[in-house]
Symmetry: C2
Subunit: 402 residues, 2 copies
């Protein structure tokens, strides 16, 4: 008998029919002899509707009260799902974050989970009950309700799986696994049986938003076996683990596109030490995360620095640069928002130097111009014009998977 | 400086504008130098909507899960109201039942409050915060969310006022006080400045559903001063207390009508001892509450018993009687659902035997036929045909208040 943690996202519990579907998946697992802890998100658009209600009353509402408000969404989901399970003849108990022992720090709206106090969940599992836990939420040591921020329910599920030493943590979503590329856009994209945590994180950060990085990081740290699968298809999904059997022929596990990116270029910098430090410490101080950085080789006493930031931070970053133009010392700053980052990810490429080369070759053949390049142990990213991005993804995918 | 508990019902917080209105009342009280604990119900039809969601999934949902579901409604209200108060420049903190220390027994959906653990509320009041407590809900000693059943938020407010030794408990509703009769229906109905707990309870049980009896009982037991007033008018309301200054000229405080009543008559009973016991113990065993009872004087070896029950119990009571017809020994049972109970209530009437007489006189003049009569220390009730009930109320009201 195994202990399985199952997580269902908002679209999986959006209405009564879907709640029943989730209850069916849970009870089927339970009836195979497993103990089940299910983590649920708020139904469909509930969270957005609650945020809208709050905005109408106070656009600057305190984060403590926002957490108090938003946490009701997941509580509704778990109660309804418990009712659906009862109707199917099994015993269930729903637990809000504070009841499930999900203790967090008191950083409201972006709280971090501290070790979970599992006594209550254990007790209910010992009574042969199916335990439903509200995702996305916890309780601070002051007794206040907290929420975990983006991807919170995935994090709740993985943290519970770690604390309970679960045999498996299944993340049910509206896709049926991790693909070598977005199957809606790329011909020949295929589902992976397995992928490593590191590859998964690179893919997630590159726009393949199946699983939030925070939860994958946590799964890696605590050795939680993840499976990503669909709550609609009933098919096996993709397993995410530390080491995968390399039965796959290729060294590359996927190709992803990220359009949530903008490029800034500081042109005409004086070629003297400390400039890069000035630029990036300024951005860090204002909480702008920088992704790729390229510095041109200094020539004729001036050089350029280009870097990418999330699209939402682009204007702020540009203003910051302009405010400190004299202090940093450059001629002008250029902002390009019509770009995309295309990346290939694969744990295998660390030992295969040909991957970057194949990427460039594929793009050259497809006539796609490369703007910036960045490589890491398991990733090659290139910045291209947004209108060429889909073509770039297809070309790279064809090169590795056709 | 006083400590004031204010309770706002569902219609008082139904939308953003009304939540702001409630926040304004609370902050005005706070700015006069008082400490304020406000108890809120769920917004408008929220509770009904949640019940409907549950029904769609499982019409026989467990009461534990129903409580888990329904308790989210009040939590939304207090969070939104806290945000509105923050926007008005005061500090507020919202507390769900479990955070406010509202410990109850574990009788889900109809839980009883045990002494409230006020530490958290006291701590927040000491920090000069306005405290918003979710009404209708508590926590059992097993750590489960409970709800208090009908009139639950009133009960929460009174229990908190008692536990905190509040100077006043204000119940804000959509009427601006207690009237001598329903002002929408009775000409000349006027607002009372004061009323006793006992009169209030009689009025409530007679269909003047401003305050739930359970909360009035609790206020009486713990000596909590109540004020019933409107969240819309801004006018002083009616004070409910143990003893009132009898500046009022009349001995009667109000006239009420209750249409939630049905009459059953057992016709042709054998005139022997123990019959009444058989009938009413049978009804009690099946949780049918009996209100008025009349037994005709035995003649020619047979008699009749008539009694009233709540409309919702009428069919069940009739079936019960028919099932046990031979055992009880009667000829047939008659059910009349087209009746109403009209009552005059007044602490003063205990010392004034003329009240019942005036009631009969008023009804005789108006040509209203009396079906059954019941009197107590502070109440005279008559059963009349439903279509004559409004006329009966007006006639009695005219007789005492014109």
């Amino acid at each position: 008998m195994s202990l399985i943690v199952q997580k269902f996202g908002g679209s999986s519990v959006a209405d009564a029919g879907r709640v029943r579907n989730v209850a069916r998946i849970i009870t089927e697992t339970y009836r195979k002899g497993h103990s089940v802890v299910a983590v649920l998100s708020a139904q469909g658009d509930t969270t957005d509707e609650l945020i809208e209600k709050a905005r109408e009353i106070n656009p600057q509402a305190s984060r403590r009260e926002m957490d108090m408000l938003l946490s009701t969404g997941e509580q509704v989901s778990i109660a309804l799902c418990a009712m659906a399970i009862e109707r199917m003849g099994c015993q269930a108990v729903s637990l809000a974050g504070w009841q499930a022992g999900v203790v967090t720090d008191s950083n409201h709206s972006a709280a971090r989970i501290k070790p979970i106090r599992t006594e209550r969940i254990r007790k209910e599992l010992d009574k042969k009950k199916i335990v439903l836990v509200a995702g996305f939420q916890g309780i601070s040591r002051y007794g206040d309700v907290t929420t975990l921020g983006r991807g919170g329910s995935d994090t709740s599920a993985v943290a519970l799986a770690a604390a309970l030493h679960a045999d498996l943590c299944q993340i049910y979503t509206d896709v049926d696994g991790i693909y070598t590329a977005d199957p809606r856009k790329v011909r020949g994209a295929r589902k992976l049986e397995e992928i490593t945590f590191s590859e998964m994180m690179e893919l997630a950060s590159l726009g393949a938003q199946v699983l939030h990085n925070r939860s994958v990081e946590m799964a890696k740290r605590y050795g939680v076996c993840l499976e990503v699968l669909s709550s609609f298809s009933g098919q096996p999904g993709t397993n995410v683990k530390e080491v995968v059997k390399t039965v796959e022929k290729t060294h590359v596990s996927g190709v992803a596109k990220d359009e949530n990116v903008a490029r800034l270029a500081l042109v005409g910098l004086a070629d003297r030490p400390g400039i890069a430090f000035k630029v990036f410490s300024l951005l860090a101080k204002h909480e702008v995360n920088v992704d790729l950085i390229i510095q041109s080789i200094g020539r004729a006493e001036s050089k350029d620095i280009s870097f990418t930031v999330a699209l939402g931070d682009a204007r702020k970053a540009k203003e910051l640069m302009e405010e400190h133009r004299e202090e940093i010392g450059f001629q002008f700053v250029e902002l390009n928002e019509d770009i995309a980052k295309v990346s290939v990810v694969g744990a295998g490429m660390a030992h295969n130097s040909g991957v970057a080369c194949k990427v460039f070759e594929a793009l050259y053949s497809a006539g796609v111009n490369i703007n910036m390049i960045s490589t890491s142990e398991i990733k090659v990213s290139v910045l291209v014009d947004q209108r060429e991005a889909d073509r770039a993804v297809q070309a790279i995918h064809d090169r590795f998977f056709a």
